[in-house]
């Protein structure tokens, strides 16, 4: 089981890294979201996938029998919410950028860092 998860994790992170290094705005952001989900899977698997039993202590017993580790599940819920928030923000940002800049090519997005003028001098910048 853990090896299947490890393989899935490797595939998702590889695909995400490949997309994230794209020059296309949307691919880049989707790639980052994929890497984020891959790492969420890592958080989930960090408690080991030994059992599917819910972690309840049987009545009368003092110790938990073999059961799923609940802590990584709580952690991964938090991480999923956070990565979803960031994905939503990044998509809105992408839409606004597409509308304002009119291009999805990240190499052409130079508004914040204009190309040097006269060979090597820093360009004069807008103030606001």
């Amino acid at each position: 089981m853990i090896w299947a998860v490890a393989l899935a994790l490797a595939a998702v992170i590889a695909a995400g890294t490949y997309l994230a290094s794209s020059r296309d705005l949307l691919r880049c952001l989707i790639g980052l979201a994929l890497v984020g989900n891959g790492i969420n899977l890592l958080v989930f698997a960090s408690g080991r996938l030994l059992s599917q039993m819910p972690p309840f202590v049987a009545s009368g017993a003092q110790q938990l029998a073999v059961a799923a580790n609940p802590l990584p599940q709580a952690l991964v819920l938090t991480a999923i919410v956070i990565s979803f928030v960031l994905l939503c923000f990044s998509l809105v940002l992408a839409i606004r950028l597409l509308q304002t800049a009119g291009s999805a090519d990240t190499a052409k997005l130079r508004a914040a860092e204009p190309v040097a003028v006269e060979g090597s001098k820093p360009a004069l910048e807008e103030t606001a």
Partner: protein
């Protein structure tokens, strides 16, 4: 409960601001901001007299409960965050000199940013630390995009991609550390990691440090900082420069200097060289630029290098120097950025090629800039001198002569950047001969904010004994003293 105030006060203020109509937001935000330094001072007083404070959520026994702990280091950084929040709100009250637009999201995001930073300074749980990094990140993104122009959106994208990569690495490191040790609480995690074989501990700690180095804008991971900071309104730029990279640096001091101590020597050796290259590349990058905001933002990377160098010394005295330098850099860099905003207000530009004549037009501003620049360069007796002195002296004492030589060389390049601003903005006549310095409209709050910061910086420089004694005690208590 006092331990939780750096988180609860700004978070509650942010929520209240969200519910209030825009006209009331500023007042509610100011009320919360004024409460925060009081909490910070109470926390510092309690920590100094009674030792570190802790609170465990729900009263669960450790290591199962989620713990918050504050020591001298936490209290000092919480105070810096509280002070900077008040400076920003005071500056905003005037509404001029490159103030942020009064959008309805401004106050909640500001308070959220400070809540994330304050909580990161007092948490004693690794996963919690990750959550506070994310809270700070999302609020910073909102503030970056606040003006909504193409420059800001472009800057937000670059900031987003590079910083999210950093937090993803952090989350991966947290997950792997948990998988290896089964602990997240700092104390339990430290003990469990010390028992790990070196072949497992080293890669895990390297991954964790790598994530913090991205957040701290160290070489070669600093690209997000000069790509985005200069598009911010001046008070927010001051807040970001004073606070954001500091969270990454704080996390490095906390993890390498306390939690995972003794961390592997190899990490510190690499960190030392990263620090050296950060110092030099930051100073050289600043020397290239002509836009005041870019010079000052880029220069932060050089100062971050000094702090990293002090951390890389891996000794209590080195940690003390790092903490002192963090306090110095937060105050002085923020004050310099606010000075740049006043230069902008007088001349209408941030670019040094389009400003000038301020020595005659604004003698008071010239004096303020001179004092701050001398402090940044490290001319005695200034806060910068004491901070650099502590770093370089400790580097020499530990026999790292090459690192010390590079630190002094980076100081010389800093001198060049500050001289450039002085010559171009103050001594040079204004390029437009018909230019006259405008009246100081609505600048009283801005002057008050900058004046308050300047007084604090001057007292730091002239009376350093109490500051140095405080950071020495803070570095000692990092390693489990009181």
């Amino acid at each position: 409960m006092l331990v939780l105030t750096p988180l609860l006060v700004p978070l509650a203020t942010a929520l209240v601001c969200l519910l209030l109509p825009p006209a009331w937001q500023q007042r509610a935000s100011l009320a919360g901001a004024l409460l925060l330094p009081a909490c910070g001072l109470a926390l510092a007083g309690e920590v100094v007299s009674n030792g570190p404070l802790t609170v465990v959520a729900g009263g669960w026994p450790l290591p199962f409960g989620i713990e918050f702990a504050a020591d001298r280091l936490s209290a000092a950084l919480v105070l810096v965050a509280a002070l900077m929040l008040n400076v920003v709100l005071l500056w905003q009250a005037g509404g001029s000199a490159d103030a942020a637009p009064a959008a309805p999201t401004l106050q909640p995001l500001l308070q959220g940013l400070v809540a994330g930073a304050g909580a990161a300074f007092v948490t004693a749980d690794l996963f919690n630390l990750y959550v506070w990094f994310e809270l700070t990140l999302i609020c910073a993104l909102g503030l970056l995009a606040l003006r909504g122009g193409l420059r800001q959106l472009d800057a937000t994208l670059k900031y987003f991609v590079l910083n999210v990569f950093g937090t993803l690495l952090l989350l991966a490191a947290v997950a792997l550390l948990y998988a290896a040790t089964g602990q997240l609480n700092f104390r339990a995690l430290g003990a469990a990691t010390a028992a790990l074989p070196a072949g497992i501990a080293l890669p895990l700690l390297t991954l964790l440090s790598l994530a913090f180095l991205i957040k701290a804008a160290a070489f070669p991971f600093f690209a997000w900082l000069p790509a985005s900071y200069h598009t911010l309104p001046a008070p927010l730029l001051a807040l970001f420069s004073a606070l954001l990279a500091k969270i990454g640096l704080y996390a490095l001091v906390r993890t390498l200097g306390a939690v995972f101590q003794p961390a592997p020597d190899l990490l510190f050796a690499v960190l030392g060289w990263i620090a050296v290259v950060s110092m030099l590349s930051g100073a050289l990058g600043a020397a290239y630029h002509w836009d005041l905001r870019r010079i000052l933002a880029f220069h932060s990377i050089s100062q971050i290098g000094y702090i990293l160098l002090a951390i890389a010394l891996a000794s209590p005295a080195g940690n003390a120097a790092a903490i002192l330098f963090m306090l110095h850099h937060s105050l002085v860099k923020a004050a310099l950025i606010l000075t740049a905003a006043l230069i902008f207000h007088a001349c209408g530009h941030y670019d040094l090629r389009r400003v000038g004549g301020l020595y005659a037009g604004r003698p008071g501003l010239s004096l303020v800039f001179l004092l701050l620049a001398l402090s940044l360069i490290g001319i005695p007796p200034s806060s910068g001198f004491w901070s650099k002195f502590l770093v370089v002296r400790q580097t020499l004492l530990q026999g790292e002569y090459l690192w010390a030589a590079f630190a002094l060389a980076a100081g010389a390049v800093t001198l060049y950047s500050m001289l450039k601003i002085w010559l171009e903005a103050f001594w040079k006549p204004h390029p437009d001969e018909s230019w006259r310095a405008p009246a100081n409209d609505r600048l009283l709050p801005a002057h008050a904010a900058l004046g308050g910061l300047l007084l604090l910086i001057l007292s730091f420089g002239l009376l350093p004994e109490s500051w140095i004694a405080y950071v020495m005690a803070a570095a000692d208590s990092l390693r489990g003293g009181s």
